[in-house]
Amino acid sequence: MGDSQYSFSLTTFSPSGKLVQIEHALTAVGSGQTSLGIKASNGVVIATEKKLPSILVDEASVQKIQTLTPNIGVVYSGMGPDSRVLVRKSRKQAEQYYRLYKEPIPVTQLVRETATVMQEFTQSGGVRPFGVSLLVAGYDDKGPQLYQVDPSGSYFSWKASAMGKNVSNAKSFLEKRYTEEMELDDAVHTAILTLKEGFEGQISGKNIEIGVIGNDRIFKVLSPSEVEDYLQEAE
């Protein structure tokens, strides 16, 4: 990558001081499927729409929410293939951290390292920024945590957040509904209601995905039948 003739960055400043490529990346994220996360007092929930391009697609084979470590999970909005690269890199970084320090990686550290990777792609030669924003949910010694990482490499800790299409409606819904004392089950119901707000068509266990992590510190993606149970409770 270093010595080739194309080792100049493709992301350069515009006269107004903006990095236009990053703005475009954020637009790509903004047109992706809605995803959101809520931090409860005893855990974190992340959820996303799983709208497939056709009814012929085998929905059981698609999994948008991924596990990075046993106690950290991630969901994205934007370009799926880009998120796969980031998930792979993050898993490796978490494992390398464990090899070196024999300690499971703290959530903030993993978020920081993933954000560093995303930033490198805005400054290295011949590459473009990632077209995804990630919502990282984890539970470590500092308790439950929820982080958002943007294509620019900036990361923020949120109590509740949404990304993708319909983000402003979803965020105002969350602002109204969020309370600090919320427990994990309430958070899951709130997440479902928020997704329902902007959902086109009939919501079911097959076209949304929910991932939770509780006091047991094990990140789990709920099965479609478990999602159906929560959907019925939320009705």
Binding site: R91, K92, V117, E120
Partner: protein
Amino acid sequence: MSRFEESAPAKGGFSFDLCKRNEMLVQKGLKPSSYLKTGTTIVGLVFQDGVILGADTRATEGPIVADKNCEKIHYMAPNIYCCGAGTAADTEAVTDMVSSQLKLHRFHTGRESRVVTALTLLKSHLFSYQGHVSAALVLGGVDVTGPHLHTIYPHGSTDTLPFATMGSGSLAAMAIFESKYREGLTRDEGVKLVAEAISSGIFNDLGSGSNVDVCVITKGKREYLRNYMLPNPRTYVSQKGYSFSKKTEVLMTKITPLRELVEVIEGGDAMEE
């Protein structure tokens, strides 16, 4: 993507750059640093429901026992364990590294690790180091294809066997296995046989000793029986304990500070940067 990756050898494999320098140093009289070897007895056998691994717990540094109760059965995956003989640092590092690679592989595939995966990762690593990584391993586990037991030699060759022994006590342990092993052993019979084989190594080989560790791996479950048998307890421990009488009387205690104490005044002028 970062520039730091350029410093690694571009073509992969072992870099022999320093070999000439090392040879020259040895010729000039440099003695290579000594390392901790595990003169060892490690065994494994396949029984009707899975695999049982066993190991002694003595780590030696030449003629000295460096660790009386070290752990030689290493975790590779929830369903795969590996006993290590040879240089302690090498067995630890190589099993740790492959365990890490297996974990990443499990994340990517979403499946339980297979014993042959661990086997191939270990043997290709050892082969690329041409025997310099002195690790002789007994690898055992149960996966979707059934129970497996393998031995791996430092140069990278492997065997697949129903019962196996490695280490300096391997002959003593193999004698027990060859006479008493049969197919279709139950769990208790298998554990008893493994403990017997390790005990044979402990008592008849100078490089092995102390206690017996056993690990039973079956489909979906593993039991790590640390210190399953303690055939070498410290029999005599003095009741009187140890006390060291005071030989010198203290006549007077006087403390003289070497420096005047500095008083800290809060809210003074801030230091100029």
